[in-house]
Amino acid sequence: MSIAKRVGAPRIVPTRGIPFPAGDPELGPEQERAWRRQLLERALHAIATPVTGPTVFDGDSVQ
């Protein structure tokens, strides 16, 4: 995430690990899919939100 900010990525959704940006192998299949869905919903929220510089969209910014 610090790299994403430093190179100026405008909208950033933090995830849980470099080898699985859209997953979490610690979880069971159903739970992992629910987590992936949350990440994508955050991404959809992010691309519909105005920003002026690198902005992190974590769980708090999603209703």
């Binding site: 100026g8 990525a9 699985f20 940006p21 859209a22 997953g23 992936r36 869905r37 959809l44 519909a48």
Partner: protein, 341 residues
């Protein structure tokens, strides 16, 4: 000298973004800013033709540069100059590519752009002279461009005093002092307040202006892209696992999930065990399809774009990004979700 001058579709008077997909062409004589440039160059030189290409076309078809240089040579070009492109990214990249292709073909060449133009990273092996920030600085920029053109036409080297910018090939030279003495001198210089002093300039990350948000994801065409080394199983394009020099695209039509055995990751910077067991962990296709069916995503783009982000040079990464943006824009995509490893 017989000179061919490159400009984009806008400065050729063909239109703005609506004409950015226009392919390459050569037109007789000077056009647009080339007319003023021709008068500044005097009677010794003539702009025999103007090479033109749309910005989106140039950014997504790198071969346009070699094509235009070949056409220019057929017209008897003895030198090729490009720009000024100010801070316009796609235009700057096109100017750098044209000048680099001309240099490679053995013709003297020169591009003009602002030092912040991301195209500067593409200018390896050729010469770039500084322009102003925007077309408001056209007059000054053309004067400097013309002076640099005259110097290169005369077979002279351009220096920083002439406004030369961008990568300069590293050459060996003998230093007066030993490495230890130079290191201490550098520390003292930095302690003295010059925080940027260096014998080896580092790459610069440019500023990115965030795109405006989309109005409604439920009505948007959205693309999935990734730098996670995500490829069809078996890696048919032989995408590199490190220091990628290319990117790939593959159709997602009719595919509901990135299943094990259908896709894989060739990323060399982390263990791909988890990615290969469920490639949706790199490209979240399964859930994106669910959201598309439910109506939260208007429509998912029918293909993904991908590369490997592992030790990739800044110049290559910048080029991939600009090529992706141009490609996606041409296909009417409104937003892209990039999974990064």
């Amino acid at each position: 000298m017989r000179i061919v001058h490159y400009v984009n579709q806008f400065f050729a008077g063909m239109g703005g973004e609506d004409s950015a997909g226009t392919g390459p062409e050569l037109r007789d004589g000077a056009t647009g800013p080339g007319r003023k440039l021709a008068s500044l160059l005097g009677d010794e030189h003539e702009i025999v033709a103007t090479a033109i290409c749309g910005d989106d076309y140039a950014a997504s078809h790198a071969e346009f540069a070699a094509e235009l240089v070949a056409q220019a040579r057929e017209r008897g070009a003895e030198m090729i100059v490009a720009g000024p492109s100010f801070t316009s990214g796609r235009y700057g990249m096109a100017c750098a590519r044209i000048a680099a292709a001309a240099s490679e073909a053995g013709l003297p060449a020169l591009a003009s752009m602002h030092p912040d133009n991301p195209g500067l990273g593409e200018a390896a092996g050729t010469t770039v002279v500084e322009s102003g920030l925007t077309a408001r600085h056209m007059k000054d920029s053309l004067e400097r461009f013309a002076a640099a053109t005259l110097k290169i036409a005369a077979g002279e080297e351009l220096t920083a005093q002439d406004g030369r910018i961008g990568p300069v090939a590293r050459t060996n030279r003998f230093a007066q002092d030993s490495a230890a003495q130079r290191a201490v001198a550098l520390v003292l210089t930095r302690l003295g307040g010059d925080r940027d002093a260096s014998e080896i300039p580092l790459p610069d990350f440019d500023q990115v202006t965030p795109a405006a948000p989309i109005e409604n994801a439920a009505e948007a065409l959205i693309a999935l892209v990734t730098e996670g080394g995500f490829v069809p199983f078996g890696n048919p394009d032989r995408l590199e696992s490190a220091r990628a020099t290319k990117w790939v695209r593959h159709s997602l039509d009719g595919i509901d999930s990135a299943d094990e055995g259908a896709f894989m990751s060739v990323h060399g910077g982390f263990s791909t065990v988890w990615a290969n067991a469920d490639p949706n962990r790199i490209l979240p296709l399964d859930v994106a399809r669910v959201l598309e069916r439910e109506g939260a995503i208007g429509r998912l783009h029918g293909e993904y774009l991908g590369t490997t982000g592992n030790g990739t040079t800044v110049a290559d990464a910048r080029r991939f990004g600009m090529e992706w943006a141009a490609d996606l824009r041409q296909q009417g995509i409104q937003a892209a979700i990039l999974t990064a490893t």
